[in-house]
Structures are given as structure tokens and as C-alpha cells.
Amino acid sequence: MESLDEIKARAEVVVSGAKIDIVPNGSPSQQLSLLIDNEHALAVARFLRDDPALTLDFCSNVTGVDWLDRTVKKTVKVKKTIDGEEKEVDETTEEKIPGYLEAVYHLYSMTQKHGPVVIRMRATDRAEGARLPSLTPIWRSAEFQEREIFDLYGVRFNGHPDLRRILMWDEFVDHPMRKDYREPDDYEYEPTPHDDVLDRAKQHYAPRPQLDGAEQITATDSHG
């Protein structure tokens, strides 16, 4: 299978105006991914599926990832002239990356038995307005998985045939897998060794009524 650079080059030719970047991957798995912009994602996906050299007809996995705002510190060795001498100094740059919600697709080819090609799409609005194009018209395996991303992350997919909650019940309000999700205080009502959960839960309950002597009655009293 051709390398990601070649795929990127050909995709940019076939789908004019598409902006594709290659996202690096630090682990030894060497699974680099293509970051596709949202307007041309559908056309790029169709190219990836129908191109005779690639035929990526099997969409194996659709994942949602939540990235909060973060600052990445990079330390680079830079040559600087200090007091007339050239020295190598460590320069630390801080890069502020705003948060986004991401959908990652792992594509394989069943006809040619190669892969994976990983593509990503990002939605920068982490509030109600997160919209991404749905790739279900191209790969039907994305149908349930995109519904799951909508349910657990809150990303709406334009063009999905049946976008509703799948794992949580329909009246549920929040999106649980987000990193800033706060679980309700009283969901764990059984005594556990973790006292802080119990303390938080107890704040929601009414205080227990006064004992009125009912505890004095034992089982033998009721039989004559």
C-alpha cells in the first residue's frame, strides 16, 4: 500500500480544495493519521473507498475523542549567540491548543487486504454546535458507531439516517464521555468504603425521620 504522503497528494488532486494534514504519532505503532477538513470529508472518503489502488471498503472502527484546552510545552535545542559565542541552549515554547471533539476512523481494505488508513475530523465547537459530516452513506458500519459518538460526546453528524441516543436512555441530558462531565452526586446509593461519595450523596436526601418507638417492636409481638 502506498504511503500516507502519496495518498494525501492524490486525494488533494482528486478532491480539489481539500485540506489534508498528516498527524504524527509518537508511539512505536507508527499509525499516522490524515486530518481532513469538514467540508470535503465526504468527497475524500468516497475517493478512499472507490479508488482502485486503495479500495478501503471496510471501516473498522469509529472513535470519538475529547480534547480539552491544553498547553503543550516543547523543549528544543536552539543555537543562540550569547556574549559573542554560539551556544546550544534549551528553549521552551508553550503552545496553547484549543479544545476540540474529534472523530477517528480506521479504514482497511477487504479486497486488497491492506490497511490501516486512519482519518480524523475535528469539530472545534465543544458546546452545542459540534457538527461533523456523517460518513454513513459511504460506510454503513459507521451507523451505530456515529450514533454512539453523538450519545456519549455530543457531536452531531449531518446526513446520518437515524441520529438518536443509543447506549443511554432517550431522555438523558448530558454527554457522559466528555472529560468535563460531572457525574450526579447521588448515583451511588449503597454504602461503600469510599466515604466522600456517600457524603456527597447524603446531601441530596431528606433527613431521616425521628424514631417513634417503632424499633422496639419485634417479630414475636405480632403472633398471638
Binding site: S27, S29, S60, V118, S141, Q145
Partner: protein, 388 residues
């Protein structure tokens, strides 16, 4: 006390004949979460016209346990016992898939004996999974537990092997990153060989219950046909895909572990109906026995764990990896994103049963309600995996 005959007022009852009220309307039935044949808490909203299914919408989430969120809050090692509980029939293959993904993420090498042990345990898992699936399917078709008990009798032998090796019958928690947790106790290999030697005789007997039985043939042939194009597009994997004739077995395609060293064939089906899916599992069991016999001969002595891997405070490099194996139900994949800490940043399970259910509606349209159960049984779902 004298009895008085009460006079009943004549009541105006609405007409109930088929022609007047129900004609042209679909009856919506919830084949609800509590059902003896739905393989767990699984609900299907079915719209019926008489007995024919016109629409089918599956409803999940009854067993949703937040496995992925727990994975983000637990260390890499701590998530290993939770993976046992995903597809609770096949804990060894779940462990292997997770260990494989972490080993891909961190670039860890596994010693030879551990790889052979992993193959042996995965194929034993495949045997016991397929045999219980056939038992459950015959149970759903009305054989009321007898083939199921025969299947479970063989499954018990394999579970006894797992118990003496890892300590627990189903929740084994046996694989680690870089190998297996502990070596086999003395005598284990001989007992495993005995179990595998007896299995073909049982399989011959069991096949007689399925293969030529007229009831099974009438209820499963030409029922739930899946075309290969739809299967590939919908991401179906595992025996369900191979029953349609598509030759895609991850043990041959990816060649993970030491599978390239074993000679085995991949059975393919012709029609893609339920009968082919059944026979697919029977044939795969025979191939698994072949692989097991080869593995028992080839397994070397040696360590079962890579000594360089830390158990506590295991921090893989920053990055991501997607590792997948051929679990008995399909392609089980784990996608891990690491940010350099002890807990993964994103921990995702690609569940085969969940994605195989995408085409459930397409398979059931036009068939009767009784066929829905047979088709669902042949898809082979486990709710622990579907809902996570």
C-alpha cells in the same frame, strides 16, 4: 348465604376481526429486554404485519457499564480484569486483544512460549464459544436444552483447564503486556492434549444433531441471507462475514502472534444464510483443533513474560495504537491513546457484536417472528460486548 344471579349489562365491544381494524396497520411489538432467547438484555422494536416483520429497530444500553470511562480512570494494568467482562464467554481473547494493543503502543516484544500459549488459549476459547453458540441456537429453535447441555459438558472441560491455569473459569485475567501472567502448572499440557483429542469424537456426534436434522434445515436455510457487498460495507467481521463468501480472516490477513507458523484453512460459505453461519462455526471448530494439535507439538520451553516490562507505573510513550485480533465473534479491536501517564487518555473497544447488529434489520425483513430469533442467534451477540 343465598346466591343471587347477577344480571350482566350487555357491553359494547369494538370489532376484532382482522378485516376492519387491523388491516393496513402495523402492530408494534417490543421483543423486550427480558426474553429467554435474546442472548442477554437486548430489546428489538418490531413492527409486524401479521407475522411478517416490516421494520425492526434494535435498542441497546441495558448493560452499559461505562467500560470506556472506567478505562480512562484506571491504569493500564488495572483495565485488564475489566476486559474479561466485555465478552464474558471469551475472556482469554479479550485479554489478548488488549495486551496486543498495548504492546503495539509501547513496542513490547513477547517471548516465544508466551505467544504459543496465547494461541493455544485463544483456540480453546474459540472452541468453547462456538460450541456454546450452537447449543444456544438449537435451544432457541426448540430443542429445549439437550444439545446445550452436551455443548456445556465439553465446555466444562475447557473451563477446568482455564481454572487450573489462571485461577478462574471465566474471568481469567491471564495475559499481561509482554507475555502471560504465569506458566502452566505441571501436567496441564497433557490434560489439554487429552481434552483436544476427545473433542473431534464429540463434534461428530454433535454434528448429527445439526447437519441433517430436517427441522434445523427447514428453519435455517434461505433465512436471513446476507449479501457480501452489504456485509463488507456494514463492517461485518468474523464467521458471519465468511459465511457470505468473503475471505477475510484476521489470523491470515494480519498474521498477528505466531499464526503464520500454523497451517489451517479458512472455511467460506456460499449462500450467506443462517445455515451457512451455523456450519461456519462447526468447520471453524475443526480447524481450531488442527491448530491446537500443531501448537502442542511446537511449543518450546522458556520464559512466559518479557522481563523488561514494568508491572506498576507502566507508562507507554505518547501516541496512539489500534490493535485487533480475530475473536470468536469477529474483529475485536482496542484503540488506545496515551498521553504519557499511567492511565490511557482514550480507551476504546471496537466490539464485533455491536457492529454485526447493524444489518439485523436487513436480515429480518420479510421473515416471520420465529425467524427473528433464529437469525439473532446466528449473529452471535453477547450484551457485555455490545453495551460495554
Amino acid at each position: 348465604m343465598t346466591a343471587t344471579i347477577q344480571t350482566l349489562e350487555p357491553v359494547e365491544r369494538p370489532p376484532t376481526t382482522m378485516g376492519s381494524r387491523l388491516d393496513g396497520e402495523l402492530l408494534e411489538v417490543s421483543m423486550g429486554p427480558q426474553h429467554p432467547s435474546t442472548h442477554g438484555v437486548f430489546r428489538m422494536n418490531v413492527a409486524l404485519e401479521g407475522e411478517i416483520v416490516r421494520k425492526l429497530k434494535p435498542v441497546f444500553g441495558y448493560l452499559h457499564r461505562n467500560h470506556e470511562k472506567i478505562g480512562e480512570n484506571t491504569s493500564y494494568l488495572g483495565s485488564m480484569p475489566y476486559t474479561d467482562r466485555l465478552d464474558y464467554f471469551c475472556s482469554m481473547t479479550n485479554n489478548w486483544a488488549y495486551a496486543l494493543s498495548v504492546e503495539k503502543l509501547a513496542g513490547i516484544v513477547v517471548p516465544e512460549r508466551a505467544e504459543y500459549l496465547r494461541v493455544i488459549l485463544a483456540e480453546l476459547t474459540r472452541l468453547q464459544n462456538h460450541v456454546s453458540l450452537l447449543g444456544f441456537l438449537l435451544n432457541d429453535m426448540g430443542a429445549w436444552g439437550t444439545p446445550l447441555m452436551y455443548a456445556f459438558r465439553e465446555r466444562e472441560k475447557i473451563l477446568d483447564l482455564f481454572e487450573s491455569l489462571s485461577g478462574s473459569r471465566m474471568m481469567c485475567d491471564y495475559m499481561r503486556f509482554g507475555g502471560c501472567r504465569c506458566d502452566t502448572p505441571p501436567g496441564w499440557m497433557e490434560r489439554a492434549k487429552k481434552v483436544v483429542d476427545v473433542f473431534p469424537r464429540f463434534l461428530d456426534e454433535f454434528e448429527k444433531l445439526i447437519v441433517s436434522n430436517e427441522v434445523v434445515i427447514a428453519r435455517t436455510q434461505e433465512v436471513g441471507k446476507l449479501s457480501p457487498e452489504l456485509a463488507i460495507n456494514a463492517g461485518i467481521t468474523g464467521p458471519m462475514l465468511r459465511a457470505c463468501g468473503v475471505n477475510y480472516d484476521l489470523r491470515k490477513v494480519d498474521g498477528y502472534g505466531f499464526y503464520p507458523r500454523f497451517k489451517f484453512r479458512v472455511p467460506l460459505g456460499d449462500h450467506g444464510d443462517t445455515y451457512d453461519r451455523l456450519m461456519m462455526r462447526v468447520l471453524e471448530m475443526r480447524e481450531s483443533i488442527g491448530i491446537l494439535k500443531q501448537a502442542f507439538e511446537q511449543i518450546p520451553a522458556g520464559p512466559v513474560m518479557n522481563p523488561k516490562v514494568k508491572i506498576r507505573a507502566f507508562r507507554p510513550p505518547v501516541g496512539e495504537a489500534y490493535g485487533r485480533i480475530e475473536a470468536p465473534k469477529g474483529e475485536l479491536g482496542f484503540y488506545l491513546i496515551s498521553d504519557g501517564g499511567t492511565n490511557p487518555y482514550r480507551y476504546r473497544v471496537r466490539p464485533p457484536s455491536f457492529i454485526n447488529l447493524t444489518v439485523l434489520e436487513d436480515l429480518c425483513l420479510g421473515h416471520t417472528v420465529a425467524d427473528v430469533m433464529v437469525i439473532l442467534g446466528s449473529v452471535d451477540i453477547v450484551m457485555g460486548e455490545v453495551d460495554r
